[in-house]
C-alpha cells in the first residue's frame, strides 16, 4: 500500500504538469474564435490541477524516491489515468460522444496508434483537432523517454541490452549521466525534428495549422489526420514524400539520432544494426509491393504504383498508419504483408510499436544459432549484434516477450470474435492496435475507421493499444502475485 501511495504522489505531480498541455487547444480556440468549444478544455485543465494537487497533498507523507519496481505501477497508472482526463474535453465539447468513444480517441492518441472513431474530422473545431494531435505527440515523447531511459533499467523484454554501460548493441548510447538529462536531450531532438517536419510540410504546400498537426502525428508515428480522407485529401506527391522521410526518421532510435547529431557523423546510422535492417526491409518491401501491384494492374503506370506502394509500406511498417490510398482493395498479399511489416520493423527507442527490430534480429539470429548447433554440437556460438555478444538472459527475455505478444494478440482476437466481429477485421484490428499502427483491414480498414465497433469491442481495442504501447510485460507484471507480496 505504501508503494501505491508513493506512486500516486508522483502521479499527482505528473497530472499537474499535464495540465499545461491544455494551453495549446485553448490558445488555438481563442485564435480561431471557437470560444464555445473551450469549456471542455478549461474543465479538463481544472480537473488535472485540482486532482494533481489533491493527490500530492494527500500523499505528502508517503512521498519518497521510487524503487525501480514501482515504475511498473507508475507507468500503468499514469497512462490509463491521463487517458481519462484527456478524454474530458472530447466528452464535453462533442455532444453525443460516449465515454467509451472519448476514451478510445484519447488512448489512441496517447499510444500513438492513430485509430479513430470520429468522423467529420474536417469540420471539427480546430481546438479539438490540435488536442488529438498533441496527445499523439506527447504520447510519442513519453514512449521515447520510457524506451531509452526507463525500460532498459527495468530490463523489460530484453531491453536491458540498451542499459547504459551494459555490453550490447548501443554501447555508446549513454547519452547523459542522469535520467533527467537524458530525457531532456531526447526531448530536444524530438522537438527539433517536429519543428523541421512542420516547416517542411508547410513548404510542401500544407496550410500552417495542418502542417503543425501532421508534424505532431508524424514524429509520434500516430497517424491522426485533420481530414477524413487522411493524407489522400492533399493529392500531393511532395507532401507524401516529406511525410515518408519523416516517418522513417521517427522510426529510428532517438538515441541514435542524438549521437549522430552530437558527433555530426552519419556513419552512426550505418553502425546501428536496427536502423540498417529496418531500412533494408522497408525499401525492399517498397520495390516488391510496387512491382506486385503494377503487375496486377492496380494503377495505370508504374510510377503511380510506386508512389502509393512506397507510402503505404512506409506508413504501415513504421506503425504510423497514414493512408494515401485504399490499399485494402489491393490484392490480399499486400495488406497482409503491410500488417506483417508493422509487427517487426520499428526500432527500439523510436515512436513505432510492435515487436521492434532488435527483437526480430535476436530471434532470427537465435534460430540460425540453433541450426548451427545441430551441425556443430560442440561449437560455442555467441549471438552477436553489431559485433557484441548478447547475453543469453536477453535472448530468454525476448522469447518470453514474443510469447506474451502473440498470446495477447490471440486472446484479444478471440474476444473480438466472441463479440461477433468477422475474423479478418478482428485479427487485423488487434494487430494494428497492439502495434500502434492504426488501420486494420475490412471493417476497420484504411478506407473506414473504428466507428463501427460497439462498446465492448472498443474496450478490447483500447486494451490492445495500451498493452502494445507499454511493452505488455510492464503491465503483465502487475498481475503476478510476487509483485504485491511484501
Amino acid at each position: 500500500m505504501r508503494s501505491l501511495l508513493g506512486v500516486l504522489s508522483i502521479f499527482g505531480s505528473l497530472l499537474t504538469g499535464f495540465a499545461l498541455l491544455f494551453l495549446l487547444p485553448v490558445l488555438t480556440g481563442l485564435l480561431y474564435g471557437e470560444i464555445a468549444s473551450l469549456r471542455g478544455f478549461v474543465a479538463g485543465a481544472a480537473i488535472c490541477v485540482a486532482a494533481g494537487l489533491l493527490l500530492r497533498l494527500a500523499t505528502r507523507p508517503y512521498r519518497y524516491d521510487l524503487r525501480p519496481r514501482d515504475a511498473y505501477l507508475l507507468i500503468t497508472v499514469s497512462w490509463l489515468a491521463i487517458g481519462a482526463v484527456a478524454a474530458v474535453p472530447l466528452l464535453i465539447d462533442l455532444p453525443g460522444l460516449s465515454f467509451t468513444r472519448a476514451y478510445f480517441e484519447a488512448m489512441s492518441g496517447l499510444s500513438t496508434t492513430g485509430a479513430t472513431q470520429l468522423s467529420g474530422l474536417d469540420t471539427l473545431p480546430h481546438s479539438i483537432n490540435i488536442w488529438r494531435h498533441s496527445l499523439s505527440w506527447v504520447g510519442g515523447m513519453g514512449i521515447i523517454v520510457l524506451a531509452v531511459a526507463i525500460l532498459p533499467l527495468l530490463g523489460v523484454g530484453g531491453m536491458q541490452l540498451y542499459r547504459a554501460g551494459a555490453p550490447g548493441t548501443v554501447k555508446d548510447a549513454k547519452l547523459a549521466p542522469r535520467i533527467t538529462e537524458t530525457a531532456r536531450a531526447l526531448g530536444a531532438v524530438y522537438v527539433g525534428l517536429t519543428a523541421a517536419c512542420a516547416v517542411a510540410l508547410w513548404a510542401a504546400g500544407m496550410g500552417l495549422f495542418d502542417a503543425i498537426c501532421h508534424a505532431f502525428s508524424t514524429l509520434a508515428l500516430g497517424g491522426f489526420s485533420t481530414h477524413d480522407a487522411n493524407i489522400a485529401y492533399f493529392h500531393s506527391p511532395l507532401i507524401e514524400l516529406v511525410l515518408m522521410i519523416f516517418m522513417l526518421i521517427a522510426a529510428v532510435n532517438f538515441a541514435t539520432h542524438f549521437i549522430a547529431l552530437r558527433k555530426g557523423d552519419l556513419q552512426v546510422y550505418r553502425r546501428d544494426p536496427e536502423a540498417r535492417w529496418m531500412l533494408l526491409l522497408i525499401l525492399g518491401s517498397c520495390v516488391l509491393v510496387a512491382a506486385f501491384i503494377d503487375i496486377r494492374h492496380v494503377y495505370p503506370d508504374f510510377f503511380v504504383s510506386l508512389r502509393y506502394a512506397a507510402f503505404s509500406v512506409i506508413s504501415m511498417a513504421t506503425d504510423s498508419g497514414f493512408v494515401s490510398a485504399n490499399y485494402g482493395v489491393w490484392p490480399t498479399f499486400v495488406p497482409l504483408w503491410l500488417l506483417f511489416l508493422s509487427c517487426l520493423c520499428a526500432c527500439t527507442g523510436s515512436t513505432g510499436g510492435g515487436i521492434k527490430m532488435f527483437r526480430s534480429l535476436i530471434l532470427f539470429k537465435q534460430s540460425l544459432r540453433e541450426m548451427f548447433t545441430l551441425v556443430h554440437p560442440q561449437a560455442i556460438t555467441p549471438l552477436k549484434i553489431a559485433g557484441q555478444a548478447v547475453p543469453n538472459g536477453v535472448v530468454y527475455s525476448v522469447l518470453a516477450f514474443i510469447f506474451l505478444y502473440f498470446m495477447t494478440i490471440a486472446v484479444l482476437t478471440f474476444a473480438l470474435l466472441i463479440s461477433g466481429l468477422d475474423f479478418m477485421s478482428a485479427l487485423s484490428g488487434i494487430v494494428a492496435c497492439i502495434n500502434n499502427a492504426g488501420p486494420g483491414l475490412n471493417l476497420v480498414g484504411p478506407s473506414s475507421n473504428y466507428s463501427t465497433l460497439n462498446d465492448f469491442q472498443s474496450w478490447v481495442c483500447i486494451a490492445g493499444m495500451f498493452l502494445g504501447r507499454v511493452e505488455i510485460i510492464t503491465v503483465a507484471v502487475l498481475f503476478t502475485p510476487t509483485f504485491w507480496r511484501k
Binding site: 556443430h376 554440437p377 560442440q378 561449437a379 560455442i380 556460438t381 555467441p382 552477436k384 559485433g387 555478444a389
Partner: protein
C-alpha cells in the same frame, strides 16, 4: 657484453641459455622464484639474483650500473615497462628491450618513440609466432620461412619430395629450369648432416634444403623441390591461447578456421572476439570431435596449446585421421628433433622464433636481424657492412677473397632495393646488407668480428 635478464619464465630461460653460451656475454637473471633460479644456475653459466626486477635496489644488486643490455621478460607488461623506465632514469642503461604482449600498448606507436617510454625495442612472442605461422601457411610446403631486409629477401627451409622437378638432378639444373629467377641454395641437410653444396650436388628425396630468393620468386623455387600444394583454405587450430586466438583472428577473413578450446569459459570469451571462426569447446585429442568436424578435409591442423605433449599427441592423431599437414608448438628442442619429419610435418618452436630478435641486439657489428634455424643449431644473419677498403675486412673485396669460418657462407646481398645472389666474384660495397648462413653457430663470434670495421 653485460646482459641483465628480468624474468626466468620460458622465454627468459631460453634467452639466458642462448645468450650465455656465447662466451662474450655475461648474463645475470633476476626472478622472484628462487627455486627456478637455483635450477637455472645449475644448468647455465649465469648469475642469478632473487627479487622483483622493477625495484631499483634489486636492479642495483644485479649490476644494472654497468649493464649494456636490459632484457625485461617477466610475464607482466607493466613490470617490464617500469623496469626499463627505472633503468633509463637512474642508470641510463644503453639498450632496453621489453616483452610487451598487450596489443593495447603495442598498437600505439607514439608510446615507443623517443622521449616516450624508455623501451628501445619491444617484442611480443605471441605476435612473432603468429606472424611466423601465418607466413608458413602462405607458402604451403615450406618448413620455415624467414624475412630479411624488410621482406625483400626470404630464406626458406623445405623438405624435398619425389614429385619435385629438381629432385634427382644436379643443383645447377635449377638455373636451366628457372633462367630468370634469382635464387641460391644456402645449405643442404641429408639425414641431419650438412652436405657441401655445389653445382654438381645431386638433390635427393627427403633432403632438407635452405635457399634464399627474392619474395616474388619464392613459389617457383618451392615448386622445383616439391610439387606445389594447394593453398591452405581449411584450418583447424587446437588451443585458444594467445597464439591460437591471434592466428584465428589473422586468418579468419581469408580462410575457413575452426578453433578447439578445452576450457568452456575461455572458449566463450574467444568466440565473442572472433567473427567468422567456429569455436568448439572440447578436447583437441578427442577423436570423435575431430571426425565430426571433418578433420580429414582440413588442409592444416595446428596444435598450439600450452602443453607440448598434448600438442604432439593431438597433431599425430589429426595426421592419422587425415589432416593434410599438421604442425605442433613444441618448446623443448629435443622433442622437436624427435618429432619433425617422422610424425609431424612442422614443429614450431616459439623460443627459436623469439630469440632471433634478442640476438640481433647482442651481436657485435651492425647485425640487424638474426634468425635461429634448425632448432638453434644453425643461424641466418643479416649484417650491414660499414667502413672503407682499408678499415674493413670485407668492403671492396670479392666473396672468394673473404675468409669465412667453416660452415659459414654469404648467400645474398641487398644493395638499396636490389637483391643480388652471391657468386664467387661478387664484390661487397659499404652499406650493403649481407645475408649469411651459419651451419655451426659456434663460429658466430668470428663472423661478427669480420663485419666490425676497425676504427
Amino acid at each position: 657484453m653485460k646482459i641483465l635478464i628480468l624474468g626466468a619464465g620460458q622465454v627468459g630461460r631460453t634467452a639466458a641459455y642462448h645468450l650465455s653460451r656465447e662466451p662474450a656475454n655475461e648474463v645475470t637473471v633476476v626472478d622472484t622464484n628462487e627455486d627456478v633460479l637455483r635450477d637455472l644456475q645449475d644448468r647455465l653459466d649465469v648469475r642469478a639474483v632473487a627479487g622483483n626486477g622493477a625495484y631499483p635496489a634489486v636492479l642495483e644488486t644485479a649490476g644494472i650500473a654497468d649493464t649494456d643490455i636490459l632484457v625485461a621478460l617477466t610475464n607482466s607488461d607493466e613490470i617490464n615497462i617500469v623496469a626499463c623506465e627505472i633503468a633509463h632514469t637512474l642508470w641510463r642503461t644503453p639498450t632496453k628491450i621489453a616483452r610487451i604482449r598487450a596489443p593495447e600498448y603495442t598498437s600505439r606507436e607514439q608510446l615507443f618513440t623517443e622521449n616516450a617510454l624508455a623501451v628501445d625495442v619491444w617484442i611480443s612472442p605471441e605476435q612473432l609466432v603468429t606472424e611466423y605461422i601465418a607466413r608458413l601457411l602462405s607458402y604451403p610446403g615450406a618448413l620455415q620461412v624467414v624475412d630479411f631486409a624488410d621482406g625483400r629477401v626470404q630464406l626458406v627451409g623445405v623438405r624435398t619430395r619425389r614429385d619435385g622437378l629438381l629432385v634427382g638432378r644436379e643443383l645447377r639444373a635449377l638455373r636451366e629450369h628457372l633462367p630468370d629467377t634469382e635464387a641460391r641454395v644456402a645449405a643442404i641437410y641429408r639425414n641431419e648432416r650438412l652436405v657441401p653444396a655445389s653445382g654438381d650436388t645431386v638433390i635427393e628425396e627427403d633432403d632438407e634444403i635452405f635457399f634464399v630468393a627474392a619474395s616474388d620468386d619464392l613459389r617457383r623455387v618451392l615448386a622445383e623441390l616439391r610439387r606445389s600444394e594447394d593453398p591452405v583454405r581449411r584450418l583447424v587450430i587446437a588451443g585458444g591461447g594467445n597464439i591460437g586466438l591471434r592466428l584465428a583472428r589473422t586468418l579468419e577473413k581469408s580462410n575457413q578456421v575452426k578453433l578447439i578450446e578445452r576450457d568452456a569459459q575461455r572458449a566463450r570469451r574467444i568466440s565473442e572476439i572472433l567473427e567468422n571462426t567456429i569455436v568448439l569447446n572440447g578436447d583437441a585429442a578427442d577423436e570423435e570431435l575431430l571426425v565430426e568436424e571433418n578433420i580429414d578435409s582440413a588442409d592444416v591442423f595446428a596444435a598450439l596449446t600450452n602443453s607440448e605433449e598434448a600438442n604432439v599427441l593431438s597433431a599425430m592423431l589429426a595426421k592419422r585421421l587425415g589432416a593434410r599437414r599438421v604442425m605442433a608448438l613444441i618448446n623443448r628442442p629435443s622433442y622437436g628433433q624427435l618429432m619433425e619429419n617422422h610424425s609431424l610435418d612442422i614443429v614450431i618452436s616459439p623460443q627459436t622464433i623469439t630469440i632471433g630478435t634478442l640476438l640481433a641486439h647482442v651481436r657485435r657489428g651492425d647485425v640487424v636481424r638474426v634468425h635461429s634455424l634448425r632448432r638453434g643449431a644453425a643461424e641466418a644473419i643479416e649484417a650491414v657492412v660499414h667502413g672503407t677498403h682499408s678499415r674493413s675486412r670485407v668492403v671492396g673485396r670479392a666473396l672468394e677473397q673473404i675468409e669465412l669460418p667453416q660452415g659459414a657462407s654469404i648467400v645474398a646481398i641487398v644493395r638499396g632495393d636490389r637483391v643480388i645472389m652471391a657468386h664467387h666474384d661478387t664484390t661487397i660495397e659499404a652499406e650493403d646488407h649481407v645475408i649469411l648462413f651459419l651451419s655451426d653457430r659456434r663460429h658466430i663470434d668470428a663472423v661478427s668480428r669480420l663485419f666490425q670495421s676497425e676504427s
